[in-house]
């Protein structure tokens, strides 16, 4: 009996040790990013947030201003595309009655969730390339260049959609039947009744949007083939959407791999910003979900 109890304690201790070992890299990562990031940003404060990338190999650390703007633009445009489509589709799926379109959409969305994000970017590129070549053959120009903020936003919108759609679908399905009946019995059209139900599950929807936006902000791979990256501030108003654009994630990726020490330093600074935003968004979503 003694050995059994000893073995039990040993087993439990082992589980805890492994858990701690597993969480250590995360803690270490946050710490390292914070330390190196703050160090980097303080070398050029507040210029770090506004200036463009420094000359490679120079002493100066430069800034990531264009990347910040790039991320903002990409995320915003992606949200403008992705959020309405996701919400409307989920509303249609849950409130439609006689069609199979809804359940079919849900099946497709389930397969989308695990798409490797680089494949998404690659296919947006592929479509635009074929479009471009095809239109060139008849002497026209494609409206959307392959490497542009718009194509990057489209890729990000595709990536955020399954998360938002699933969240809205689940929360609408969880509305108690009699509440749904009550809303409909007020005599509004299906669209209006759906709108009331959406307001009822507002907190859930916000959480879902938060998750989707967080994903879009943190992705790099899909931007490789679409937004492509740029070290300069986007310019020219709406025209800028049709030109390549940088992003925080892309910037970190290219600067870290470059081998130039000042760029590597800057990438820590950018990573710190990105990490801070991610953690803030994560916390916000948690708070919204628990209050709603």
């Amino acid at each position: 009996m003694e050995t059994r109890i000893l073995r039990s304690y040993a087993g439990l201790a082992l589980a805890v040790v492994i858990t701690v070992a597993g969480l250590t890299p995360l803690i270490h990562l946050i710490a390292v990013v914070a330390v190196n990031g703050v160090k980097a940003i303080s070398k050029n404060f507040p210029g770090f947030f506004f200036e463009e990338r420094a000359i490679p190999g120079s002493e100066a650390i430069g800034g990531v201003g264009p990347y910040i703007v790039g991320t903002l633009i990409l995320t915003t445009v992606a949200s403008l595309i992705g959020i309405p489509i996701s919400i409307l589709a989920a509303v249609y799926t849950t409130q439609s009655v006689r069609t199979r379109l809804g359940p079919i959409t849900s099946t497709f969305v389930r397969t989308m969730i695990e798409f490797p994000t680089i494949v998404v970017g690659l296919t947006v590129y592929g479509v635009l390339r074929i479009l471009d070549l095809g239109l060139q053959a008849i002497g026209l120009h494609s409206p959307i260049p392959r490497f542009s903020a718009l194509s990057g936003s489209i890729a990000l919108a595709i990536i955020m959609t399954p998360f938002i759609y699933s969240q809205v679908e689940v929360s609408l399905r969880e509305v108690p039947t009699h509440l749904r009946e009550a809303v409909y019995s007020l005599g509004g059209s299906r669209l209006i009744s759906s709108y009331i139900l959406l307001r009822y599950v507002k907190a859930s929807i916000l959480a879902g949007i938060g998750i989707g936006v967080g994903k879009a902000m943190g992705e790099t791979a899909p931007l490789l083939f679409t937004a492509f990256g740029s070290e300069y501030y986007p310019s020219g108003g709406l025209e800028a959407l049709l030109k390549p654009i940088g992003a925080l994630t892309l910037g970190i990726y290219t600067m870290a791999l470059s081998g130039y020490s000042n760029w590597v330093e800057a990438s820590w600074g950018a990573a710190f910003m990105l990490l801070a935003i991610s953690i803030a968004l994560f916390t916000a979503i948690r708070i919204i979900s628990s209050r709603g």
Binding site: R98, A182, G187, G188
Partner: protein, 257 residues
């Protein structure tokens, strides 16, 4: 404020859920401005019958309806009928009080009129909300806290709020699906007395599994068993001289279930 309630004719109504027939050919005449109770044991189909009247049954893809439901001369299942406008004419109150919890008392009552653009000014809306809450015996209790979230009311108050919400639509008929089965006796009797007043200006179709409630509040009673109409008539007749043995068993409380 007297106005004509709707008269409702149900003709040969049959309802299936997938392949199971739940309502097996029911015909009823519901006179206007009466409290008409549909009673029966659980599973008899009375809630389904009620939901067929305002076409809330449409929300369920597995439901199929045959027959006619004629409200003030209009067949609500005809091709030219619009479900939404049917529902604006006929209000509904449910078994579980279900105000929208985060919305204020005022907003809950105002919801229907607002989305259906029934009033033209805030003042009109205020008057309508007050009228509805008064008719639902709730005005005095909440007049000073109209902005309070509806979820904070007691169960009985919430149910009266739901009644006010339905009344604010100025319906010609009100469908009530076991409205007091989740309430305590005091709340129940309050609602029962308000129901008897309602028939002054609309037709009430009440569903209950409690024969005693039926005897207290209604003018007419229909007894439904296993999806079929067993007997229908004025309340006094049904409860004192029922024609069918089944009915007698039910009203004397001897029917199990």
């Amino acid at each position: 404020m007297g106005s004509r309630g709707a008269s409702i004719e149900i003709q040969g109504l049959r309802v299936w859920f997938d392949s199971r027939e739940v309502i097996k050919g029911v015909s009823l005449s519901i006179p206007s401005n009466t409290v008409f109770t549909i009673m029966g044991p659980s599973g008899s189909g009375k809630s389904t019958l009620l939901r067929a009247i305002n076409r809330i049954l449409d929300l369920y893809p597995e439901a199929r309806v045959e027959g006619r439901v004629i409200v003030d001369g209009l067949d609500v299942y005809s091709d030219s009928a619009d479900p939404s406008s049917v529902r604006r004419m006929i209000g509904m109150v449910f078994q579980i009080p279900n105000p929208i919890p985060n919305m204020s008392i005022y907003e809950n009552v105002a919801l229907g009129p607002k989305i259906n653009r029934m009033v033209r000014s805030k003042r009109e809306l205020d008057e309508l909300v007050r009228w509805a809450l008064e008719r639902a015996y709730l005005w005095d209790e909440v007049r000073d806290r109209l902005d309070m979230p509806a979820g904070k009311l007691s169960g009985g108050q919430q149910q009266r709020l739901c009644i006010a919400r339905a009344l604010a639509m100025r319906p010609k008929a009100l469908l009530m699906d076991e409205p007091t089965s989740n309430l305590d006796p005091m709340a129940t009797s309050k609602i029962e007395s308000l129901i008897t007043e309602l028939r002054e200006y609309l037709t009430v179709v009440l569903v209950t599994h409690n024969p005693f409630q039926a005897s207290r509040v209604s003018n007419y009673v229909a007894f439904i068993y296993d999806g079929r109409l067993v007997e229908v008539g004025p309340t006094s007749k049904i409860f004192t001289r029922p024609e069918s043995e089944l009915t007698e068993k039910y009203v004397t409380g001897r029917m199990v279930a």
